[in-house]
Point group: none
Chain length 534, copies 2
């Protein structure tokens, strides 16, 4: 099989999306997710233009990735500046990556109007920079910015800039449709011409301003390109970069290229959702391959057809990308996937049992309310146990009241929470304060329950996310709260959904505590068993 | 100029999207919007399979459109049934449209596995049906369902089905990529072959399952197709149909085809948003041409470039499709982008003035706190006015207290907010209840302030978003709240940031009200001036 190399630029070009702003921790999470997918290169930032990126490169050096190479991104040297004296290039080197992506100008008006340099000087800037990076032992991907527009305007000059990069030893010439305005037949023929001219790896970097990014990427590969740049969820300036999930699935499933291991591709849907979650962006439901509706069938003839022969209305099998078929207004959706999860803590479950039917019914109903158990499997386990009657009653919330007072626009008192819980036959009433009402609820819950269960003291919350589900309903919208917790050994995530953010948060917090108690109880019981049998 | 005919199927294929359900009134509104855009054909429903559609066709006959032809959609006759006796075909005729779109099977497995008919009988079904519709005086668009898949599997047979439609007098042979799995080079070459074979109009109907729908449509036109089917916002089964807005803009602005009048194209952005509004679906911000971010620039080099020469980072002029350029404010965008925004409400600002420096300093400091003014320009304007001393004092919040009580895990009382505001020298103290604390704050703020400013009654909140900024800080994390409001004429977005979600929401809500008062005050003053000078 022919290998096509993938470069994901979520952390660089994707960070230039409107509405996206990554913390260093977000970036680290995304890098790990992409590394698990085994993309070949992760373009992690522009150390010259953004000092925060430098911090991230340092973090990556101390926490190395398993599979992906890290690439640092930067421009060719400034005009009238020697490479050794160029501050950006020095930053690029000190990022300490094995690979650098250097972008240079291919379009004459960009040289004259933006750089305000002579055409010849730009060629020298490319030549010097690539050579300098090679001398410093870097693998160099040369990004020919606006190559297709440049070629359209002045083909000779565009090729001259590529030639400079090639002659100075660039390992890959990546042709960029930076403004996203080119069409696939043109991209295909120009890519072919470049490949015939330069015996080196050629790549494609497409943007979606004309809705052509995926097509341009795929047809460039048809023409012989072996390196594709994009962003996994399609983030990027304006309409976004080529959606790498779409391109990857197309190349590997439909054209027979080799990009990532098949088992990684089979996790594509959840991988895309994980990156989107960290970015606090929802995955468009109609996104090819990975969207919630990508294999949803609604029209009667389609439903009928897909039941008779799935090939008739599905271009690939949903399982090949970890997605699943949804047949709307019917009973078959995801049954086996749900029962697979149940088996983890209740191996006796039978596929056609009444219990199984009840569970499926519950999941459907709760999903309809706005729950999402994907990534919140601890809450899922608690709900199934409740349904099956195997959820121990550790405590019962009898009252929780919060007051929150602002004395002016900027002066704020602490929030107070008063709580009453029942444990066995003992009531505990107490109160706590916090920075904001959710923090106060968190404190009050722990304070009340630690009296009975000291192990709650080990729980530390590591993540708190809020998603407004029907944001058109404004302040009366339903919200979903996801909370991640750890006790130093294990991490678990719980979910709560309500119109009231206090109530949604309380649910997720209580689930987190209950899951901890369930775990330590099980450990205690199995310890006891072991002691007995010893 | 060469004419390419557009058929919009929002009301037929689009209605098969998950999450879409049109009332007859919705359909009428959408038909009028498409008619104003002057698309050539509106495929308005399937009268045979959906009795509600029949009602709509009747409504259209009594309320005729100005520009677009209405098409009714239906299948070829049933097997073993004479055309005259086929109930679906009779419904199709009684829809009373000048044009019908008849779909037939091109892919052999569909004939054998789905229709369970012989290959020869299917050809006869196509032949009879098209002939019957022609005899009844209809313009016939023949939709060759799954044509590309059929051609791939059995080219001879696929062409035989087309030939039957052609020989029976079909006015247009529309080649469908029903499963959306074909690539543009294949679509282009097969379309070319069909055009060479049959001297009749050839069309394309593409789906987006491989992210190729727009590319397949455009390349089919390059090959000579003169009829394109799609849905204006890209609605449709699974990943959707070809986005007709994208295809239209590509054909007309970039390839020089003639589809709709230029002045209609210049309204494309609002037209797409109107159809989406009626459908209760939000337009994806990164949709080509018409999305809110389609011409948004954030990266520093992009902002700098587009200021020097817009061509450098925009493939077409935003005004050609009724969209506009947005220069985002952020640490990466820099000084000139920020001052560009200030100029809109304070044209006297000088780039190197002390005021400018103060503003930049403020933006940086607030972004550091977690504010993000990109997309929240109303809050930006209020903050700048505060800094410059040109923010009128409409009201002052003196106290806002919220109580929220849960009586068990599932029982919840309403939330209550008590508020004290000062307007001029008058104090107003009141209270309100809501579904959750933020909803209660919203209600209390309005109730207290409407006493003084009745125009607040016009404000409706249309969007509410919450982003946890440092989610590792868990329940003590800082949150950013974005609120979008409208008064029926204009939309504006405001932002609040605080550790306490109540406080962040209060800020954004107060900004929203203040911005409305600022606007209505300015209008009142300018009305007064006009009256004075008249």
């Amino acid at each position: 099989m022919n290998k096509v190399f993938l470069l994901d630029s979520t952390l660089r070009d994707g960070a230039q999306s409107v509405g996206i702003s990554f913390s260093v921790q977000d970036k680290l999470k995304i890098a790990r997710i992409l590394d698990d997918l085994q993309v070949d290169y992760i373009e992690a930032g522009n150390p010259g233009s953004n000092p925060k990126d430098m911090e991230f490169f340092e973090l990556l050096r101390t926490n190395p990735l398993q599979h992906s190479k890290v690439a640092a991104f930067g421009a060719t040297r400034k005009k009238n500046t020697a490479v050794e004296d160029d501050a950006n290039l020095r930053s690029l080197l000190s990022a300490g990556t094995d690979c650098v992506a250097i972008f240079g100008k291919s379009w004459d008006i960009h040289v004259t109007d933006i750089l305000r340099a002579s055409l010849e000087e730009n060629v020298e800037m490319i030549r010097d920079t690539v050579r300098f990076m090679k001398e410093n032992g870097k693998e160099v991907i040369y990004d020919a910015e606006h190559f297709f527009d440049g070629y359209r305007a002045n083909p000779e000059y565009a090729l001259k800039t590529l030639e400079a990069a090639y002659e100075s030893g660039a390992d890959c010439l990546c042709l960029c449709d930076t403004n996203g305005g080119s069409f696939p037949d043109f991209v295909q023929s120009v890519t072919k011409l470049v490949i015939e001219r330069y015996p080196v790896a050629v790549g494609i970097h497409a943007h979606d301003d004309a809705g052509m990014a995926a097509a341009n990427s795929v047809l460039a590969v048809s023409a012989g390109a072996t390196h594709v740049q994009g962003t996994l969820v399609g983030f990027g300036e304006r309409c976004g970069n080529a959606n790498l999930a779409t391109v990857l699935a197309n190349l590997q499933l439909k054209m027979g290229y080799d990009c990532v291991p098949a088992e990684a591709l089979e996790r594509l849907t959840s991988t895309v959702h994980e990156v989107a979650d960290v970015s606090n962006i929802s995955v468009s439901k109609n996104m090819p391959y990975v969207g919630a509706n990508a294999f949803a069938h609604k029209g009667g003839m389609h439903v009928d057809g897909v039941m008779k022969n799935s090939l008739t209305f599905e271009h690939v099998a949903p399982s090949a990308v970890g997605n699943s078929r949804r047949v709307m207004m019917s009973e078959v959706a995801g049954r086996s996937a749900i029962l697979e999860k149940v088996k983890k803590f209740y191996p006796e479950i039978k596929k056609d049992s009444e219990e199984a039917t009840k569970i499926i019914e519950m999941v459907k109903q709760m999903e309809h309310q706005g729950y999402q158990f994907e990534g919140a499997e601890s809450s899922f386990e608690l709900e199934v146990r409740r349904l099956l009657g195997t959820r121990p009653k550790f405590f019962e919330l009898q009252m929780l009241s919060v007051t929150d007072e602002q004395q002016s626009e900027s002066r704020k008192k602490p929030s107070y929470a008063t709580i009453k819980v029942l444990v066995g036959d003992q009531l505990e009433i107490t109160a706590a304060e916090g920075m904001g009402p959710v923090n106060a609820i968190d404190a009050a819950l722990r304070k009340a329950l630690e009296v009975f269960y000291p192990e709650i003291g080990e729980i530390r919350l590591t993540d708190y996310k809020v998603r407004v589900l029907d944001s058109e309903s404004a302040t009366a919208a339903t919200v979903r709260v996801l909370i991640e917790s750890t006790d130093g050994h294990e991490y678990w995530t719980t979910v709560g959904v309500a119109v009231d953010i206090m109530q949604a948060s309380t649910r997720a917090l209580m689930d987190s505590i209950e899951y901890k108690l369930l775990k330590s109880n099980a450990t205690a019981q199995s310890d006891m068993k072991q002691t007995e049998s010893a």
